[in-house]
């Protein structure tokens, strides 16, 4: 999520810089105060008015009071946002592979989808399960990850019993891939009610 926000902000900033560059280049064609001159661009962008507003703001800031405190809050928020974006850019990307075995040199790995398929096939074999949803989330570093299972069952069975059976069914897979299984059993609705 943070990475996506990072990319969006980077794209928007680059777009803004590019547009500003184009505008500056176009308005540098002529000199003095003619139509395509830099003073005209400044007038279009209302820079003189902005300067006045900024002067006013800075004088309020020097005087202390609510404006100064609002500025402190804004600065702190900007720092926090910057740190968050930095974390999004620098945090290691989540591995798309679940590593089964890594002996220093070679490794045996599988993508999340086939593992979820295997887990789903194991869950469906449990008596009473009418439908299932499985998701695999590899760890950011190292091997293993999380295996999240939603198992739907008929009304005749209890959820704790289904959770126990499903956990036992996926245990060989979870152990082999160092996956921490989390099973959530619930009564099925609609088609998921019927076995």
């Amino acid at each position: 999520m943070l990475r996506a926000i990072d990319r969006l902000i980077a794209f928007l900033l680059l777009l803004a810089v590019a547009l500003l560059g184009v505008a500056t280049a176009v308005f540098a064609i002529q000199g003095d105060s003619r139509a395509l001159s830099l003073p005209t661009l400044a007038r279009h962008l209302r820079l003189p008015e902005l300067r006045e507003v900024l002067d006013d703001f800075l004088s309020h800031l020097e005087a202390g009071g609510p404006v100064a405190w609002a500025s402190v809050g804004g600065g702190a928020a900007a720092i926090a946002l910057g740190l968050l974006l930095l974390a999004g850019a620098l945090a290691p990307r989540r591995e798309r592979l679940v590593v089964l075995e890594e002996d220093g040199e070679s490794r045996l790995a599988a993508r999340r989808r086939p593992l979820a398929q295997i887990a789903g096939a194991l869950v469906e074999q449990v008596r009473g399960v009418t439908d299932e949803r499985t998701r695999v989330r590899p760890r950011r570093v190292g091997s293993g990850g999380r295996l999240m299972i939603s198992a739907y069952h008929s009304r005749a069975l209890s959820s704790p019993e289904i959770e126990r059976q499903v956990a036992a069914a996926v245990a060989p897979l979870a152990d082999a891939f160092s996956l921490r299984a989390r099973v959530n059993a619930r009564r099925g609705e609609g088609r998921a009610r019927v076995e």
């Binding site: 089964l100 040199e105 045996l108």
Partner: protein, 127 residues
């Protein structure tokens, strides 16, 4: 104007020789992996980038990278049947290692990474 003779430059010689050994290893690893029961096919990935090029031929699902010690690390991207992947991986590695030794390129074979890209019921249909 002086034109460099590409066949006489060290880089070109190295590249040509390394490429052939790399391709031989890739081809051998791919063929051996596909011969193991439980392996359905190799997969070049969603963008088709997991390939080794041998002239005009594309060896899909296998890549080989040169290692500092002069060996090649081979990575295979496979679609397998619903079988225990750990044992399947062991069988594939053993077979590749044996075949590479028999072919006289065992010393060039480095680590063999296996990535199971998908699971399929049968050779015809991917689940």
């Amino acid at each position: 104007m002086v034109e460099a003779d590409p066949t006489r430059t060290a880089g070109a010689r190295l590249s040509g020789r390394a490429s052939s050994e790399r391709v031989r290893l890739s081809r051998l690893a791919l063929a051996q992996a596909l011969a193991v029961e439980g392996v359905i096919r190799a997969d070049s990935g969603p963008l088709g980038t997991q390939v080794t090029l041998d002239g005009r031929e594309r060896l899909a699902g296998v890549t080989a990278a040169a290692l500092p010690e002069g060996r090649y690390g081979v990575t295979l991207h496979l679609v397998a049947q619903l079988v225990p992947l750990h044992e399947l991986g062991g069988r594939i590695r053993a077979r590749i290692k044996r075949a590479a030794s028999l072919a006289g390129i065992g010393d060039a074979l480095g680590p063999v990474d296996l990535v199971f890209e998908d699971i399929a019921d049968s050779p015809e249909g991917v689940v």
